[in-house]
Symmetry: C2
Subunit: 117 residues, 2 copies
């Protein structure tokens, strides 16, 4: 029974850590919302496309194979959560990944996909 006593102590320590390090509701909700923004197939597709470099809406629409309106809505969601950013170039609006953290997440996700575990 030594083992289970040791285990119990460990779990109490994990509990303490969990309770202490838990972010506040607002931070947690924002973090979750950002994950959720990434987690729709159509939006993830957009992000995978953008991980190759910036693209305008029309090209994105082709790359993900949707219709223009749907893609625009999806872009808005991603932009609202600061997952992507955009700049205007004449008639076109050109989108790109907002920052390195996002790119890291997409990369980790791709890896995960490849090694399939």
């Amino acid at each position: 029974m030594q083992d289970s006593i040791k285990e119990k102590t460990e779990h109490e320590e994990h509990m303490r850590c969990a309770l202490e390090s838990m972010p506040c509701e607002d931070d947690l909700n924002e973090l979750a919302a950002r994950f959720k923004a990434i987690s729709e197939p159509s939006r993830l597709k957009i992000l995978l496309a953008l991980s190759c470099g910036e693209l305008c809406v029309e090209h994105l629409t082709q790359a993900v194979g949707g219709n223009q309106s749907a893609v625009s809505h999806q872009l808005k969601t991603l932009k609202d959560h600061r997952i992507i950013k955009c700049r205007r170039a004449g008639k076109q609006v050109i989108y790109s990944i907002a920052d390195g953290h996002i790119l890291t997440m997409i990369s980790v996700a791709k890896e995960h996909l490849n090694c399939n575990d």
Copy 2:
């Protein structure tokens, strides 16, 4: 106009990359589903708690402050997507993060939260 020609060429290259590297529907959907599993506030809370170390259901329930049934449903979702794993120890079932990739994602997410960009 030299600039915009150069830009156009770059975008064509991005397009080519995007189209070539796009995973198939099934892979994409699974990847998205895994992100989605992470992206609900209650489930993210569970993962943040588990990033401190393994915990049994009762402790998890306390740590995230829900009711037992809800937490069990959430755990099932996470387990179905191989985000977490579990082992039985007597009456209890003890959950932990499934692998290093997930832990990396959670860590990147936490960082993101802290530097607030």
